[in-house]
């Protein structure tokens, strides 16, 4: 029999009433999505872990102090908190460190894939490690739109409003991000084309 999943809304209500287990379920459900979004912006797993903690602490305080707007959905809300903290950090400290974990391994060692053989997991790890590296190389505005649309599930209209541009500019940035990814993907790792396209200003 298929297990019925408790909705985010029910979990949030239960947590506000003091059910810690409900919050554990929410954290477990969205920890990777929140963390991935932050890592893609700040490019550093140590910083990303700190920002992830800050994100959830902000959420805890808002929920526990009765300031959560129940009309909104939990995931877009917490992703927005994560995004704002990550962007604040990124703009404050524009750094490009190597992405490594505490044990010294590469961040892609923790990439997760569903129901694949070990061989296909290895192939996917390599190809997605490559794609992850390419995302890091996108111009900032294009990377921002890509992350907001793809990982934070914001509409292009919402992205336009959040970034203070027209919807066509937001769409144009996404288009150039995809063009640049495709262009870079067609090169080998030894012959990156460093001339990335930027959208007309």
């Amino acid at each position: 029999m298929e297990k019925i999943q408790v909705s985010d809304c029910e979990l949030v209500s239960a947590y506000i009433k003091g059910d810690e287990n409900a919050f554990s379920v929410l954290v477990e459900r969205y920890k990777s999505k929140v963390f991935t979004t932050i890592v893609l912006v700040v490019k550093d797993t140590y910083v990303a872990e700190d920002l992830m903690q800050d994100t959830f602490i902000k959420a805890i305080k808002t929920l526990r102090n009765g300031r959560y707007n129940e009309e909104g959905k939990f995931l877009p809300w917490i992703l927005r908190i994560a995004h704002n903290l990550a962007i604040d950090y990124f703009r404050r400290d524009k750094r490009y460190p190597n992405v490594v974990l505490e044990d010294g391994s590469n961040v892609f060692n923790t990439l997760s894939f569903s129901e694949d053989s070990m061989e296909s997991i290895q192939v996917k790890k390599e190809s997605h490690e490559h794609l992850r590296m390419l995302i890091k190389r996108l111009p900032e505005q294009q990377r921002e739109v890509l992350i907001m649309r793809h990982y934070e599930d914001m509409s292009f209209q919402e992205i336009a409003e959040a970034t203070g541009v027209s919807i066509n500019t937001a769409l144009g940035r996404m288009r150039y991000a995809l063009i640049n990814l495709r262009k870079m993907m067609s090169k080998t790792v030894y012959a990156y084309d460093t001339n990335l396209y930027t959208e007309p200003q």
């Binding site: 990303a48 992830m52 805890i60 794609l131 769409l171 288009r175 995809l178």
Partner: protein
Amino acid sequence: MPMTQTCTQNPNDVIRYLYGETSGEENDQMEELLAKDSGLLAWYLDCLDIQLGLNQIEVTPSAHVVNRILDFSRSYVAE
């Protein structure tokens, strides 16, 4: 946003279509355009391929940070 027939607009419309932001009517128009325009179809397939790749990227935080969050929640007293 109405779908237009210009070269500049169509690739943007493909992106809206890719991310499910087009209306039913726009979907029909886009599917007709894709059937007629091999260049646009190639662009759509490229975008789809990248989108599938992006879907596979997921990074998991350490158990340590998750435990710190849960510990904070348990000890937090509302203001």
